[in-house]
C-alpha cells in the first residue's frame, strides 16, 4: 500500500537513514521526476487530514474545506507550489501548512473561478467520513495551527501503528500485535501482561520479551516515518520533541 516502502527498508536496521520521501521531493523540486512525484503523492495522501482539520478550524464549512483541500492537493501535484519547497525550510509538516496558507491567501479565489482542479482529482476524500471524524474532535480553544500540528502527530502515529500492525501480520505474528499492542508503554499495567500472556499461553518472561520487541519495532517504524517527513536524519529527534511539546501544551 505504500509504494515507496522500499526506499527506506529494512526497518530492522536501526538508525539508518535512507533517502526519504521528503528529501527526495526537495531535491527534485524542479524537474518532473517520477519518483519524486510519487513520493510527494504518497506524503500528501498520508497527511491530508491535518490540513483538512486546519481549514475547518479556520471556520470554513465542511463542503468548502473538502473542496479546498482537494484543490490544494491537485495544485500541489501540478507543482504549482513545489517551487516553494525551499530546502532550508526543512520539514514537510511546515512546508505543507505554509503552502496551504499561501494557497488560501491567493490561489483559492482564482481556483474557484476556474474549472475545479483542471479535472485532476488527486485525492478522493470520503466526504461523510471525513466530516464525522472532524466532528468527533474535542471542541476546544486551540488555534488552527495548533489543531494542524496535533492532527499531524496523531496521523503520524496512526501511520506508524498501521505499519507496525502490517509488519507483525506479515511476519505471522499478528496475534502478538493484537494482544500486546495495548501494552506498548513501559509502565503498562503489570496485570495486563499476566492475562495477555495467559491468553497466548506464554510465560510471563516471554511476554515481557515480546512487549519489549514490539516497543523496539514501534520505535523503528515511528522514527522511519518521521524521517520521511524531514530532510536529514539529525532532524528526527528534533521533530519528535517538537511534536511532543505541541501535544503536551
Amino acid at each position: 500500500m505504500i509504494p515507496a516502502e522500499g526506499l527506506h527498508e529494512p526497518c530492522s536496521q536501526p538508525r539508518e537513514f535512507m533517502t526519504t520521501h521528503w528529501s527526495l521531493v526537495l531535491r527534485a523540486a524542479n524537474d518532473h521526476d517520477v519518483l519524486s512525484r510519487s513520493a510527494l503523492e504518497q506524503l500528501c495522501r498520508n497527511y491530508w487530514y491535518p490540513l483538512y482539520a486546519y481549514v475547518r478550524r479556520q471556520g470554513r464549512s465542511a463542503h468548502d474545506a473538502q473542496d479546498l483541500t482537494q484543490e490544494f492537493f491537485a495544485r500541489m501535484m501540478e507543482k504549482k507550489f513545489l517551487n516553494l519547497a525551499d530546502p532550508a525550510r526543512g520539514r514537510f509538516r511546515t512546508f505543507l501548512l505554509c503552502s496551504l496558507k499561501n494557497f488560501m491567501a491567493s490561489e483559492w479565489k482564482k481556483g474557484q473561478a476556474q474549472k475545479r482542479g483542471n479535472g485532476v482529482a488527486v485525492l478522493s476524500i470520503d466526504e461523510q467520513d471525513t466530516e464525522l471524524r472532524f466532528l468527533s474532535e474535542p471542541a476546544d480553544s486551540l488555534t488552527p495551527e495548533h489543531v494542524y500540528e496535533r492532527r499531524w502527530a496523531a496521523t503520524l502515529l496512526d501511520i506508524a501503528m498501521e505499519r507496525l500492525r502490517k509488519k507483525y501480520l506479515d511476519d505471522g505474528k499478528g496475534e502478538i500485535f493484537n494482544v500486546f499492542g495495548s501494552c506498548i508503554l513501559e509502565n503498562s499495567k503489570e496485570a495486563r501482561y499476566a492475562t495477555s500472556a495467559a491468553e497466548l499461553k506464554m510465560s510471563e518472561g516471554a511476554a515481557r520479551v515480546a512487549v519489549y520487541r514490539l516497543r523496539e519495532s514501534f520505535r523503528e517504524v515511528l522514527r522511519t516515518e518521521v524521517a520521511s517527513t524531514v530532510e536529514s536524519p539529525a532532524e528526527v529527534d528534533d521533530e519528535l520533541r517538537y511534536l511532543i511539546t505541541v501535544l503536551r501544551t
Partner: protein, 668 residues
C-alpha cells in the same frame, strides 16, 4: 461506549490512537531516553541506574551554565508528594555546606510527571571500589571513613538525616591527588520513601525504593517510616565501616534479598552479625588472601588488626537497640580516631549479660522448658559476669563522660562565636528601624549565650537554625539607606534569591540590561517568578582576585554595592552619581548557605572558601536598586591575608541602567 480513558503513563486524556497511551507518550517511545530533556536540563549522558531511578549528567543553562547530576526518579511515585516532601526539607538542605557533601540543588518534575533531583555533579567512584582499587590499608580506609563521618555529622547538625548511606552514595574524588569522599543524595531518600504505604503497595514500594537492605537499620526495616533518627545513619555507617574493613556487609546481600520480606526483616532486626575479625578469619582462604591484599596486608595481620577496638566500634554501630549505638556520628568518628592514635576507645565488647539476655529472648521457649538446674546455673553465671561487667562499665562510663564533656565544650565555643558575631554586626547599630527595635531585641535575646544542644530554650531548633532564622529576619527588615532614611517596601512582592555554590560568588540583582563597561562575567540568573536577574560570578579561590571586582550601581539614596573578599578588604570607595557611599555594611556569617527570601530586589554577595567546612563567608548588602541610569565610580585598595595580594584599583566609572520588574509569585 464513552468511558473516561486516560493514558497509563501521564494520565492525559486519550485521543483514540491507542487504548492505553496518549500520542505524546507514544512519540516519546521513539526518542532515545538520553536525548530527553529533564526539566530545564539538557541530558548529556547516563551516569548510572539504581533502584529508584536513573542518574544523568546534564547541562544547566540558567542561572549559570554548568554540569549537574540529575536523578530522574522511576515512575510510580506520587510526584506531588515527593516534591512537597523535598520542599519541606529544602531550607535545611540549603544550610548544609560541607566539602564532603554534594549539594542537592533543586527538585522538580518533568513534563511527564516524573520527579527529578538536581545535584552537584561528582565525578568519582564508589568508596569501596576506590579503596580496593588503590589497595588502601586499613588505616587509610579509616581516615577516609572519618571524613565521611564528618560530612554526616555536619548534616545531622543541620537536622538532616541521610537515610540511605551506602557505598554507591559515597563517591571518592581526587582533589589535587588527595582523595575526598563526597556524600550524595542527601534529602532524596526522605523525599522518596517517607510515605505511608498501604498493604497493597507495600511490596512493590519496598522493592522499588530500598535497593540495598544490607545497609538498612533495624528500625528502617520495620518500614513504619515514622521513627527514623540520626542513629539510623550511624547504623548504616557501621555497615559501611564493616564493609570497608572486611569487604563484606554484615548480612549477605544475596541472602537478604532471597529471604523474602518477613524473613529479611527478621534477620535485620534479630540476627546478630558476626564480628569483622571473625568474618575475615572465617572466609575461605583464597577469599581471605584477596581481601587482605586489597588492604595491603597479610590475612593474619588483617584479622589481628580488626580484633578488639575495630570489632567493638563496628559492633556498637550495629547494635539492634539504637540507644546502645553511638549517640552522635562525632562520637563514632572520635572513637575511630582514638583507635588510630592507639588510645582507648569508648566502645567495648558487648556486655555478656546483655548478650545472654538476648540469647534468652531469642530462645524463650527452650529456656522455659529447660531444667531448673540449668536456669540456676545460668543465673549464677550471670551474676558473676554482671559483677565483672560492672567494673568494666565504671571505667567506660568515665571515658564516655570525658568525651561528652569535650563535645559540650566544643559546642559551647561555637555558640559563643556565633553570638559574638550577632552582637558585633553593624546591623544592630545602623540598620534597625525604630519600630522594629523591640522585636529585634527579643529575637536577639532568644539566642542565649550558652546552651547545650536540646536545651528547651532552643525550642527544638538547633543553634544554627535559630541563627538562620535570625539572619532571615534581619534581611526582611525594612532597611535604612545610605543616608539614614527609612524605606518600607510593603507593596513589593517577595521573591527568592538562591545563593550559590561555595566556590563561586553570585551577586544577584535586578535586570542588568545596559552597561558601557561590562562587569567581569555576567550570567543570567535563575528567574524568580518571571523576573530576570543577572549574576556576576567571581572566582573566589584562595586569596586572589582573578577578575576585577564587581561594580554595583544605585542612585544616591539607595546604594547597592556588592563586593566579595576572600579574606579581607579595606579602603574602598564607591561614588554613585557623584555621591560618596560610605557605610558599606559587611556581615560575616558562619553559615552562608542560607536561603534568603528577600522582600525586594536585593543585591547580595555570598561566598564560601573552597574546602572550608564552616564555609565562612561575607555578606555585603545594601539597599535596593532603583530603575534608572546611574553612573558609578569605584576604586580602592583591597588587602588580603597575604600581603602580596594587595590590589590597588584605579578609579573607574561605569554607566548602568536597571529595569526592575517584579511579578507576583505564582499561587502555591
Amino acid at each position: 461506549m464513552k468511558t473516561e480513558q486516560i493514558c497509563s503513563k501521564c494520565g492525559a486524556e486519550l485521543e483514540g490512537i491507542h487504548e492505553d497511551a496518549c500520542p505524546a507518550c507514544l512519540l516519546e517511545i521513539a526518542v532515545p531516553e538520553s536525548l530527553q530533556e529533564v526539566g530545564p536540563f539538557k541530558v548529556l549522558q547516563k551516569l548510572g541506574e539504581g533502584g529508584c531511578g536513573i542518574v544523568f549528567m546534564a547541562e544547566q543553562e540558567k542561572p549559570i551554565r554548568r554540569r549537574v547530576a540529575v536523578k530522574l526518579i522511576k515512575l510510580g511515585m506520587d510526584t506531588k508528594q515527593v516534591i512537597a516532601r523535598f520542599d519541606a526539607e529544602r531550607q535545611a538542605l540549603a544550610l548544609m555546606d560541607h566539602f564532603s557533601i554534594a549539594k542537592v540543588l533543586d527538585a522538580g518534575a518533568t513534563a511527564q510527571g516524573r520527579p527529578y533531583f538536581v545535584m552537584e555533579l561528582v565525578r568519582g567512584i564508589k568508596i569501596t571500589e576506590y579503596c580496593d582499587k588503590n589497595h588502601l590499608s586499613t588505616e587509610e580506609r579509616l581516615r577516609l571513613f572519618i571524613q565521611v563521618c564528618s560530612a554526616i555529622q555536619h548534616a545531622h547538625q543541620k537536622g538532616i538525616i541521610h537515610r540511605d548511606i551506602k557505598p554507591s552514595n559515597i563517591l571518592v574524588t581526587l582533589h589535587d591527588g588527595v582523595p575526598v569522599p563526597k556524600v550524595i543524595d542527601f534529602g532524596i531518600a526522605k523525599a522518596t520513601t517517607d510515605q505511608r504505604l498501604t498493604d497493597l503497595t507495600f511490596y512493590t514500594a519496598f522493592e522499588q525504593f530500598i535497593g540495598t537492605p544490607a545497609y538498612m537499620s533495624p528500625e528502617q526495616a520495620e518500614m513504619s517510616g515514622l521513627d527514623i533518627d540520626t542513629r539510623s545513619d550511624i547504623y548504616s555507617l557501621g555497615v559501611l565501616l564493616y564493609e570497608l574493613l572486611t569487604g563484606r556487609t554484615p548480612f549477605d546481600q544475596k541472602k537478604l534479598m532471597s529471604a523474602g520480606l518477613d524473613e529479611m526483616r527478621r534477620l535485620i532486626r534479630e540476627e546478630e552479625p558476626i564480628r569483622p575479625s571473625t568474618r575475615v578469619s572465617s572466609l575461605a582462604s583464597e577469599e581471605r588472601t584477596t581481601t587482605a591484599s586489597h588492604r595491603d596486608s597479610a590475612p593474619l595481620a588483617l584479622v589481628s588488626k580488626l580484633r578488639g577496638d575495630l570489632d567493638w566500634i563496628v559492633m556498637r554501630c550495629l547494635e539492634k537497640d539504637r540507644t546502645r549505638r553511638y549517640e552522635t556520628v562525632n562520637g563514632l568518628a572520635m572513637d575511630v580516631r582514638r583507635h588510630l592514635e592507639s588510645q582507648p576507645v569508648t566502645a567495648g565488647p558487648p556486655s555478656q549479660v546483655y548478650r545472654m539476655r538476648k540469647l534468652i529472648q531469642r530462645n524463650r521457649t527452650v529456656v522455659a522448658a529447660s531444667l531448673a538446674v540449668a536456669a540456676a546455673l545460668l543465673l549464677g553465671l550471670g551474676l558473676w559476669l554482671a559483677e565483672r561487667e560492672a567494673r568494666n562499665h565504671a571505667l567506660l562510663a568515665e571515658q564516655r563522660s570525658q568525651a561528652k564533656e569535650m563535645e559540650a565544650r566544643e559546642s559551647e565555643r561555637r555558640m559563643r562565636d556565633m553570638l559574638a558575631f550577632f552582637r558585633s554586626t553593624q546591623i544592630t547599630r545602623t540598620m534597625i528601624p525604630r519600630e522594629n527595635r523591640a522585636r529585634f531585641t527579643s529575637i536577639t535575646n532568644e539566642i542565649p549565650s550558652v546552651v547545650p544542644p536540646g536545651d528547651p530554650r532552643l525550642n527544638g531548633r538547633t543553634y544554627e537554625q535559630l541563627a538562620a532564622a535570625w539572619w532571615k529576619w534581619a534581611l526582611e527588615m525594612p532597611m535604612t539607606n545610605a543616608v539614614g532614611a527609612i524605606h518600607t517596601w510593603k507593596d513589593t512582592p517577595r521573591f527568592d534569591i538562591r545563593t550559590s555554590q561555595s566556590s563561586n560568588l553570585w551577586f544577584i540583582g535586578s535586570p542588568f540590561l545596559e552597561t558601557t563597561n561590562s562587569p567581569p562575567t555576567v550570567r543570567y540568573c535563575e528567574i524568580p517568578y518571571g523576573v530576570e536577574l543577572f549574576a556576576v560570578i567571581l572566582s573566589a579561590e584562595s586569596s586572589s582576585i582573578e577578575e576585577p571586582p564587581f561594580y554595583g550601581a544605585t542612585e544616591s539614596a539607595q546604594a547597592v554595592i556588592a563586593q566579595y573578599w576572600t579574606d579581607h578588604a579595606v579602603e574602598m570607595f564607591f561614588e554613585l552619581d557623584g555621591v560618596r557611599l560610605s557605610n558599606l555594611e559587611v556581615f560575616r556569617v558562619l553559615s552562608p548557605q542560607i536561603e534568603i527570601n528577600a522582600p525586594r530586589p536585593w543585591i547580595l554577595g555570598e561566598g564560601g572558601g573552597r574546602g572550608t567546612s564552616t564555609g565562612d563567608g561575607y555578606y555585603v548588602l545594601l539597599a535596593p536598586l532603583s530603575p534608572r541610569k546611574h553612573t558609578l565610580r569605584m576604586g580602592g585598595k583591597f588587602k588580603f591575608a597575604r600581603p602580596q595580594d594587595t590590589i590597588d584599583l584605579p578609579p573607574e566609572t561605569i554607566d548602568v541602567t536597571y529595569h526592575i520588574t517584579v511579578a507576583e509569585p505564582p499561587p502555591k
